[in-house]
Symmetry: C2
Subunit: 344 residues, 2 copies
């Protein structure tokens, strides 16, 4: 079959790889209907050292069950399913607690003999714990929003949930990428009435306003901090959703969080040290978040999508076929596209 | 009147200071029945630059109302009261939220014309918001435990509460000082069934066991980490209560916290940077805590002390008169005493 391979920084190609087949009785085979490119795929796209044989890539997909192993129940050929961005058994203590990203028998797509998501098909390990059946057909108009359940939307939701967003909390969202916009939508869904979105790309923050942002701060650094302070009577907001992952974004988060408040971060940290000493100790600041256990949130978020109450799939502003994937990476890296969907 | 003055590192003296008197209609005058020396008083005792006129010190006390200003209601001459370690108005938004340490009109004892706690009497600003009336007489046998409500016990309790300790969470307490032992007692009170106390002073950890610790780990550093891992099937504990404030203690906290877990710190951080990058992001670790709003917890904890269910005052292992305060500082600094009570 054909799948996406990354050979190094800036070098993504479509190539032939072995057709997946069942290996364990807990596996399922899924033909991919939709996949997408993640902001985190841009880290290797920006810096990966060259490799001779390309590595598989992609961890967000939605597809149709082709075949299931003998120990997989509840799924049959033809079911449309979505896969979260890690696979997990669904039965260990971490999975039962809703922290499937720490599953004792789970793992990552595109590694150790497991297919990446950006291809024609995927062998899904621990299929019963990993996959969620979607009550739609292959031609559903909801596929984009349903695909967002694989990663980007639950990542924004994890950010808002772990920050403790509720109707009484004011919110700052840092970052107008697809995760930041998903965090806005999530904060709105959790009842926040004041959502300040910090971002400087007008087309993106415009979508953020449609998702529920009440204020947009386009300024960055100290200017941006002062603007948020102005908007909040000098105090900052109860919660800050840090959706970038760079040190400067986290510095901004500490500067705009109200005393007693919580910063949640879901942007993969591109730093090792956090400036978090005595002054923020005196202010009782909490730093939480982390990689999102998307699987934990899918059942909760699904009905809103099926009912049309929310459209998280609007973060996809371009769709490509497999051949267009390399250009999709380029477009996202150059911020020409917000998030690229793949229809293999 | 006589009060404690600090002239520099290692130089604490008792001296004469002006008798306090009401200055604002919101003030009260309190004659001190009991005060004490805090672990945090040892920071200036260890490193303060010399000053010509000594600075006032002490922020934990319990006493008798001598006089109240015209705007203070609910208190009268003769009432026994405890003061938390910051004063606060009790009416601003932060106070109403239970974050009195960020009160918009509050402040710190021993500064800006406000008396320190280690003296014969104190002018209490914002008395109505600050003080809590105690239903006991001046000779009560409970005074030590009631004094602990001023700082050390609510500090341990804040640590356990913000960490989310409950009957389903395992707990590691780092530090066998008075705050660490108070954290053990607090975790027990919140229902924790497994409380691992890390400390190497046997007399202190023995009290920790009486307070509820189920395991004691005397080893430090990597050895201590391995011991906690052994005790928890390799996982670490759901919550870690960091009651020291040094970088090494925080490093230990990150090493023994279970994936998805929470570290709460109440030891004043003697560091600026926290190693909290990608690996702990992948494990969804939360870092919370901060300076304890003691005032927020006093009403909740008081009944257990009055009923004799808990005896947090057992952390006081020495009592001195005012003249003995300098030697009390020395004894605590040399770890000869755990926590010194003052009976002026």
């Amino acid at each position: 079959m054909r799948a996406t391979l990354i050979y190094g920084a800036g070098d993504v190609r479509i190539g032939d790889v072995p057709d997946p087949e069942l290996r364990q009785p807990t596996d399922a085979l899924v033909r991919v209907l939709r996949a997408c490119i993640c902001g985190s795929d841009l880290w290797p796209y920006g810096s990966k050292a060259p490799v001779e044989h390309g590595d598989r890539i992609g961890h967000e997909f939605l597809g149709v069950i082709e075949e299931v192993g003998s120990e997989v129940s509840g799924f049959k050929r033809g079911d449309v399913v979505v896969a979260p961005f890690v696979w997990s058994d669904g039965t260990c203590d971490f999975c039962r607690e809703g922290l499937q990203t720490s599953c004792r028998h789970g793992g990552t797509w595109g590694r150790d003999g497991v297919d990446g998501g950006q291809g024609e098909a995927v062998r899904v390990p621990q299929a019963q714990g990993t996959l969620v059946k979607l009550p739609v057909g292959e031609e559903s108009a909801l596929l984009a929003s349903l695909l967002s359940l694989s990663d980007v939307f639950p990542t924004g939701y994890h950010c808002a949930k772990t920050a403790g967003v509720n109707p009484r909390t004011t919110v700052t969202v840092i970052g107008d990428g697809a995760v930041g916009l998903s965090a806005v939508l999530s904060a709105k869904r959790l009842g926040a009435e004041r959502i300040i979105l910090m971002g400087r790309h007008k087309d993106r923050t415009d979508l953020g306003v449609e998702f529920g942002a009440t204020d947009v701060v386009a300024e960055r650094g100290q200017e941006g901090v002062e603007r948020v302070k102005e908007l909040t009577g000098g105090d900052g907001t109860h919660t800050v959703l840090e959706c970038v992952g760079l040190e400067a974004a986290l510095d901004t988060a500490f500067a705009v969080v109200r005393a007693g408040g919580t910063i949640s971060r879901v942007g993969a940290p591109q730093y090792r040290q956090v400036s978090f000493g005595f002054p923020d100790f005196l202010r009782n600041i909490t730093l939480t978040g982390g990689v999102a256990p998307a699987r934990a949130y899918i059942e909760e978020l699904l009905p809103d999508i099926l009912d049309g109450r929310i459209e998280p799939g609007r973060v996809f502003d371009r769709t490509v076929r497999l051949d267009g994937v390399p250009d999709g990476y380029r477009a996202m890296a150059e911020r020409e596209a917000l998030k690229v969907m793949i229809e293999p």
